[in-house]
């Protein structure tokens, strides 16, 4: 049952374990460090691990998009916002301790435990047949046929987000 360590399956399993560790360490760095710029770096590391998990789930396209959009765009945007807003790190660090830490552990632990319990004890039924192989070609075909309306709506949402963020960030600039 268990593949040997140096067979291809075994090496893939080792890489998978490494990816899980990368994801978890990234999540810990993202939530537990004091400086915000470090937690953005942790977020990037975590997304790197998540992209690897997507690759194991047989979808290299989504893995690449994860790298491009999250690591390449979202993390860089957050880093710019940190540089522009220059938070008062010493004051933030002082506020971190105390009641909110315990409350946070309880909330996060409860949610995580409940979801994990539901996942382990659920009875998942495997599908009878698969109508296609989930390849990139099929993704493109269904994006332009079955999901074309949603695709267009997402474009409008992104356009509205661009215009809105420019308008919000420009407002009040002339007064200063």
């Amino acid at each position: 049952m268990n593949p040997s360590l140096f067979s291809p399956e075994g090496l893939a399993g080792v890489i998978f374990l490494i990816l899980i560790c990368v994801t978890m360490i990234g999540a810990i760095i993202a939530t537990c460090t004091k400086r915000l710029i470090r937690s953005v770096s942790g977020l990037a590391v975590c997304f790197l691990g998540v992209a690897g998990l997507y690759y194991f789930l047989n979808s290299p396209f989504v893995a690449m998009m994860e790298l491009l959009i999250y690591v390449g765009a979202v993390c860089v945007t957050i880093a710019f916002a940190i540089m522009l807003a220059e938070p008062d790190e010493a004051k933030l660090a002082r506020k971190m301790s105390g009641l909110s830490g315990g409350l946070a552990v309880v909330c996060g632990g409860a949610v995580s435990f409940a979801l994990g319990y539901a996942a382990v004890n659920g009875h998942w039924m495997a599908p009878a047949t698969q109508v296609n192989d989930g390849s990139l070609k099929m993704i493109g075909a269904s994006l332009l046929t079955k999901y074309s309306m949603v695709f267009e709506l997402i474009s409008i949402v992104l356009l509205a987000a661009i215009i809105g963020s420019v308008a919000l960030a420009r407002a009040g600039r002339r007064g200063n």
Partner: protein, 106 residues
């Protein structure tokens, strides 16, 4: 241990742990940008669940990938909007900490 990547439960538990870390950070962080980072963790936990169910259980394995792409688009739009709100708030209040913004309670 080495066959973990072929089991649905592994991915579901990773997703649950990431979601829990997101909630943890959301409650713990005193600053707006820290809370935004935690929200990104929550979204990626949800995406992992979608991708796992897509790979193991869905009859049409393009659905989950497309939903994950839409989650990414929404997350990018949300990050852009909320960061520009953070910049606007910082310009007015000279702070991005939640406690200094009680005036925004309404």
């Amino acid at each position: 241990m080495l066959t973990l990547s072929t089991q649905l439960n592994t991915y579901l538990i990773i997703g649950a742990i990431l979601f829990g870390f997101g909630i943890f950070g959301l409650v713990r962080r005193p600053s707006l940008i820290g809370m935004l980072i935690a929200v990104e963790l929550v979204l990626s936990g949800a995406s992992i669940n979608f991708m796992a169910f897509n790979h193991f259980l869905a009859p049409d394995p393009t659905v989950g990938q497309i939903i994950t792409l839409f989650i990414m688009a929404i997350a990018a739009a949300e990050a852009a909007i909320s960061l520009s709100i953070v910049i606007a708030v910082y310009r007015n209040y000279k702070s991005i900490e939640v406690e200094d913004l009680v005036e925004l309670n309404g």
